[in-house]
């Protein structure tokens, strides 16, 4: 059966090579037979890759250790659910999973568009097949998940006798990955990253086929929203996982892998907004194509960065075996594919540049159209700053042989001011009038929100000065941080007020025009214009994220105290009493059980009230018997998170060192993520045109 899985990949690769040729021929000769052949190739690839995935899952579930991948990422004692998620636990499997998603999306996209947009399909399917072909090439010849396992003597494990096989237990999935969030984070992330390939292929296809009419683009836009939404939620899920799993109390470190997922998302965001303008006014055609091309290239680039070992990262992955020739090194194959797609995209943009001119002039610097341009360009700028920060160490190293570190100290000061301007434009654009600018049109609609922002600023200043000398000292040590904080709070309330005002105005208007009753008009905005109001919910989510980040980053406090059972110690606004320090049987054989735990039972008091019972733990997993992992215990409210971990323990003296963070308003980040999801779903409601 593993042979079938292996061969499926080769056959699929073969189909992709033929498919590219056939699609290209149909592009040149407009012969429908070649197009149908190429479309069949896509369907065939889809079936074969799904078959390979099912077979790999089967191998994982039945502990088939004759396969290297199964041995590395699974273990006989591993819970079944994590044998399933092991599919994307390692490089080969995750590339297979990625390819599977791409194949499914491609098959769906061409099926939905076969009737209405057949004339674009030759070039579009060629682009899809090129991308599929790239991944299938890797899977067949470089990172094959069906590669056989050899033991340390080089002997094939498939030749073992049954008695020898019974002794093989497997290596096991990294315990850090054995939790709910790491189970769903990669699929969500990959769905988003792969999703951008579809609108990319369609837009290039339309450009190649000289499409002058831009209304078909609906289908591309829906895929883009879908990809953008799942990627956004995936990124926040990743942050959430880092927060609850890794024990450092933070959720974002500008790690290259994090940046790799953030970059396509930010370009996708820009695309969604320039697209709106192209649809209504036919403008920004170039920016549209540019942003979707960047979103796709960066999603591939992100995959490259996280696989090639070229960057230092906590997640950085295998350095390539230096004995492999340069043209067959994984990183370089990625670069080659990216170069091909970049040349294809920008070459096409150049050749069809006449199509990208709209012939319409911007009539005012304060119009809605202009606001959308500022916003998208600012987002693009964020993308380029992050891209520069991400790649400059590579070039720096080539030139000076020194390896540069880029972390929060680099990114935060550069990204923050741009992000704040995006926040501001996001609000103003909502009330901007079409075509004309003019102070008069703004004055009326921005009056209340301006007051809201001013009040929020006043409230913040009041709270600040109430802190007395401590506040002033802190301010002097980091004045810019406080200025950004005050700006963030005022802008956030300004934008939130705009959104609410817009919503109520629209609802009232629907009622006034007789379209809805007094109460039912509250639903009218969503019914009449789900895209815009779904979008506004997303904007509210973004405001929540800004507030959560601003307060948790500025006012995070860290504590550490050593305690014995019965002790009560103050941790910032809380008093913690350690009721007990307990553990599982420490002599248990880790080969038999999956884990051995040590935990502290904490009673958390605020004032005199018991607000939480927390149990931070350390867990020894069989995969890492020397160093137990952290299970943090968090008491979360809208105002702050009280985040505890068992930093150290001494069972001889029965004492535990409790580490704690007080993270203000972190919950707002996750709340923002929920709003992102809800808003995105609402915006996708007109379920037609995929």
């Amino acid at each position: 059966m593993n042979a079938l899985g292996n061969y499926s990949l080769y056959i699929a690769f073969g189909l992709s090579v033929w498919g590219i040729a056939s699609a290209y021929l149909s592009y040149r000769n407009r012969d429908e037979r070649y197009l149908r052949s190429a479309l069949h190739a896509i369907y065939g690839i889809c079936g074969l890759v799904l078959l390979a995935i099912i077979l790999l899952w089967a191998a994982l579930l039945r502990n088939d250790f004759t396969l290297k991948y199964v041995w590395e990422y699974s273990r006989t004692t591993q819970p079944a659910i994590y044998k399933i998620t092991a599919l994307w636990g390692g490089m080969d499997g995750s590339l297979l999973f990625w390819c599977g998603l791409l194949a499914i999306f491609s098959a769906l996209a061409i099926t939905f568009n076969r009737k209405n947009n057949m004339r674009h399909l030759p070039f579009t399917s060629m682009v899809l097949l090129m991308t599929l072909g790239f991944f299938l090439f890797l899977l067949s010849f470089k990172t094959n998940p069906f590669a056989p396992l050899r033991d340390s003597a080089g002997i094939l494990v498939s030749t073992y006798t049954p008695q020898m096989m019974r002794a093989v237990q497997g290596n096991g999935l990294n315990p850090l990955l054995q939790n709910f969030y790491m189970a769903i984070h990669p699929p969500m992330l990959y769905t988003g990253l792969v999703g951008f390939a579809i609108p990319f292929a369609f837009i290039l296809g339309a450009l190649a086929h000289r499409e002058r009419n831009t209304f078909w683009m609906r289908s591309a836009r829906n895929w883009a929203v879908f990809a953008w939404m799942t990627l956004g939620v995936g990124i926040l899920l990743g942050g959430y996982w880092a927060y609850i799993e890794l024990g450092w109390g933070g959720y974002w470190a500008w790690d290259p892998v994090e940046n790799a997922s953030f970059l396509p998302w930010v370009m996708g965001t820009a695309f969604l907004h320039t697209f709106l303008m192209q649809e209504k006014r036919g403008i920004y055609r170039f920016w549209n194509v540019f942003f979707i091309v960047m979103a796709f290239l960066l999603s591939i680039y992100g995959t490259y960065l996280t696989r090639s070992g070229i960057l230092q990262s906590v997640h950085a992955f295998g350095q390539e075996d230096p004995s492999i020739p340069w043209y067959f090194q994984l990183g370089n194959i990625f670069l080659l594919f990216m170069a091909i797609m970049a040349i294809l995209s920008f070459g096409l943009i150049l050749r069809r540049r006449a199509l990208l001119k709209s012939g319409q002039e911007l009539e005012s610097a304060g119009s809605r159209e202009s606001m959308f341009l500022y916003g998208s360009l600012l987002l693009g700028l964020i993308g380029f700053v992050v891209l520069f920060g991400l790649t400059s160490p590579i070039f720096y190293r080539i030139v000076t042989h020194h390896e540069l570190d880029r972390g929060p100290e680099y990114y935060n000061p550069r990204i923050l001011p741009i992000a704040l301007m995006v926040l501001l434009v996001m609000g103003i654009a909502s009330v901007s009038p079409w075509k004309k600018g003019g102070w008069a049109s703004y004055r009326k609609q921005l009056a209340i929100p301006f007051l809201a922002g001013l009040s929020a600023l006043a409230a913040s200043l009041f709270a600040f000065f109430r802190g007395g000398q401590a506040s002033l000292t802190d301010f002097h040590s980091r004045p810019l941080t406080y200025i950004y904080l005050f700006a963030c709070v005022s802008f956030s309330f300004f934008v939130a007020a705009i959104i609410l005002e817009e919503y109520f105005r629209t609802a009232r208007q629907a009622h006034r025009m007789g379209r809805a009753g007094k109460l039912s008009c509250l639903l009218s905005p969503f019914r009449e214009n789900p895209r815009r109001y779904g979008g506004y919910i997303v904007h509210l989510g973004i405001v929540c994220v800004f507030l959560g980040v601003a307060f948790s980053a500025t006012f995070q406090r860290e504590y550490q105290e050593t305690m014995k059972p019965g002790d009560a110690v103050r941790f910032g606004p809380y008093v913690v009493r350690m009721a007990d320090l307990q553990h599982d049987d420490l002599n248990a054989d880790l080969q038999k059980v999956n884990d051995v735990r040590i935990w502290a039972d904490l009673q958390v008091f605020r004032g005199n009230k018991l607000v939480a019972l927390l149990r931070p733990m350390r867990v020894f997993y069989s995969a890492n018997p020397q160093q137990p992992t952290y299970e943090v215990a968090i008491h979360s409210t809208l105002l702050r998170d009280f985040y505890t971990l068992l930093a150290g323990f001494d069972l001889n003296t029965n004492s535990a060192t409790i580490g704690a963070f007080v993270n203000p308003m972190v919950a707002w980040l996750w709340l923002g993520g929920v709003l992102l999801l809800v808003g995105g779903l609402i915006a996708l409601i007109p379920m037609r045109n995929w």
């Binding site: 061969y7 056959i11 037979r33 074969l48 947009n117 002058r212 079409w434 817009e502 045109n689």
Partner: protein, 76 residues
């Protein structure tokens, strides 16, 4: 062995199905536009702009201008 044989069968079937269309009658790829889809897209944009008119985000003359632009674009 069974796996390899099965793979061969799958390979033949896959390539067979993929190459089969080449043996049909030559046909031109339909260049038809989905006029329904396009008209619906235009209608929706106009509808959204009309609500913007109610909300005083656009002037009536501008709305007419944009509407005729969209109509003519959709015919291209």
């Amino acid at each position: 062995m069974a796996g390899t044989l099965l793979s061969l069968v799958v390979a033949v079937a896959a390539f067979g199905w993929v190459l089969a269309p080449l043996f049909g009658e030559p046909k031109e790829i339909s260049q038809a536009r989905s006029t329904d889809q396009i008209q619906e897209a235009v209608n929706r944009s106009v509808r959204e702009l009309k609500t913007d008119l109610e909300l005083q985000k656009i002037q009536a003359s501008d709305l007419e201008e944009i509407q005729s632009f969209l109509e003519s674009e959709s015919k291209r």
